[in-house]
Symmetry: C2
Subunit: 337 residues, 2 copies
């Protein structure tokens, strides 16, 4: 396993204070839910020494300032804003998807109820805009606009993902487009927001965004692989969880569209009305692998990481910054959690 990049471990500390200050503006009831969701408190509202989250998006935001030749601190409002949008989306997604567990803990809505969780998500989204627009300089409006567009895409992706649950056939292209919106749009924004805040020229901001788009695609492929073959102790989700919920994830959709004998059997298992038992789960995983879903997802993840690296090369970044970006890309695509 790749070690956690330095830029990511440093970041959590740098961003944490600003993130706490922002969330601290919320009314006490909404704060309580948000602080729990962010891992700062337990269900009773007592502080907990949380295992720090990945802070992937803030790390990318800070690096993106350095890509534009600005100090990383200048991107702090951007780093906080993308993390707030990420937190908002997880909070609402858990309600919509009926997911009861988030990072080894009960999901916020199961603790505080749906109304409070809906409201806390709303608050985090509004707060993201507020914080970002407080950043000095003219770049803040451009950054806030980019974040709003990314949020609209994130929502479109989740909407398509929900739609998939009601459908029999999904093309691989549709599934990739869903992931581009649901996962990659915010990473795209994270990778460019620091540069945008600094007033960087469009070509640089675009190259960084393109890096983020490919990184996001690779990230989702790896996430989907872990959702089937990941170790529950490190992913924080039950084994084979995506197959348990018959999720239309990328490896599954690839296998379903493979035109192999496995794809028909897989379609049959996925269409069954009753929840799968353990034998069926194991069989489903085997069929996804036989249908080439696993091999394709692994190869495609690798290909997208290479594309991401190409975009960075175009951007003409200082070596140190480029290497840190690549280290992060490596980390998120070789992770086991």
């Amino acid at each position: 396993m790749t070690t956690v990049p330095v830029s990511m471990t440093d970041v959590r500390e740098l961003v944490d204070g600003a993130l706490r200050a922002a969330v601290g503006r919320l009314d006490p009831r909404t704060y309580r839910v948000a602080a729990y969701h962010l891992g700062w408190t337990d269900t009773e509202g007592h502080p907990r020494t949380a295992p720090a989250g990945k802070a992937l998006r803030p790390a990318l935001a800070l690096l993106s300032a350095r890509a534009a030749g600005a100090p990383q601190e200048s991107a702090l409002p951007g780093a906080v804003a993308v993390e707030l949008v990420h937190a908002f989306s997880l909070l609402h997604d858990d309600i919509m998807d009926g997911d009861r567990i988030r990072r080894h803990r009960p999901a916020a809505w199961t603790v505080y109820g749906e109304p409070a969780a809906i409201l806390a998500g709303d608050a985090l989204l509004a707060l993201a805009g507020e914080v970002l627009l407080e950043a000095p300089g003219q770049g803040s409006a451009r950054a806030a606009r980019a974040l709003a567009v990314a949020t609209r895409r994130l929502i479109a992706g989740q909407s398509l993902d929900l739609d998939f649950e009601t459908r029999q056939h999904i093309s691989l292209e549709e599934c990739q487009s869903m992931a581009a919106d649901k996962t990659a749009a915010l990473l795209e924004c994270s990778c460019s927001i620091g540069a945008v805040l600094d007033g960087a020229p469009e070509p640089l901001a675009d190259a960084l965004a393109s890096f983020g788009a490919d990184l996001g695609a690779a990230f989702q492929l790896v996430d989907d692989l872990l959702g089937i073959w990941g170790d529950s102790a490190t992913t924080g989700k039950p084994t084979l969880s995506d197959l348990r919920s018959r999720k239309m994830s990328l490896p599954v959709v690839a296998a379903l569209n493979s035109g192999t004998p496995a794809s028909e059997l897989l379609a049959e298992l996925y269409a069954r009305p009753e929840p799968p038992d353990e034998d069926e789960l194991a069989e489903t995983a085997r069929l996804v692998e036989m249908g080439g879903g696993k091999a394709w997802a692994e190869a495609e993840a690798g290909r997208r990481v290479e594309c991401a690296a190409d975009h960075l090369a175009e951007a003409g970044l200082p070596d140190a910054v480029r290497n840190e970006f690549l280290h992060i890309a490596d980390f998120v695509t070789c992770r086991d959690h």
Copy 2:
């Protein structure tokens, strides 16, 4: 009944196109829910000739541009943005409050399900920021920041309102503070957003916001009076609806805190576990009136409209603009719907 102010009838037409263009950016599934919620389509997605909504917030936004000496069209992005935030809040509030009817129609969540309705609300909120930040000029970032703060307050107000449902005692001050956040914050923003977009000096923007704060307080008082004594045919809600759900509205809380014999009886009825029958509802309404809740709310609404007028006088507006603001204030506080 006061006639609908000219500025409000004109506005719907002017804003409608821009609002439709904005909402048209959403993905087709999210659009469907939003268009239904906004009254543009029926449950099948077919266009309907909707009875136009009040467009109160857009009307105030456009007037506020004229207050700063700018053409009302310059405030269009602001008018669209405040209407989007308003639509977002109603969509999510209906889910949180379990309200199944909105303007004589099934609430969106009862038609499309909670996940789709949560998502559509999220999309409308994100869209508000996106549209506002596209407005030309430096005022847009200041306006978007004010709107984000208003949204945070709106959420805090809804959060406190939800909290009230679990509590026995609520002070009148708390209840007023809740309404100031839940209802008045967005009206405050609507009344100043056009001026802010035009780069108006702080004192003018502040006077307009203060007008909106008092207008909002009066608006909520009238709304609460209608929630008890309004005619269901015009309010679109069942008669005595707020008492049916034992809502802690301003007239009720005023009566509960009146220290009269009625307040004790009222508290007793409100604390009953079983839903009220028609006789109990009539008795509850009588007790709110005997406890002085109705008279206080009527007087307080009148007082807040006068305060609102005083703020306008301070602002030194052109007579035509001031009169239109006052006409709107008169309209929303003398309405029967």
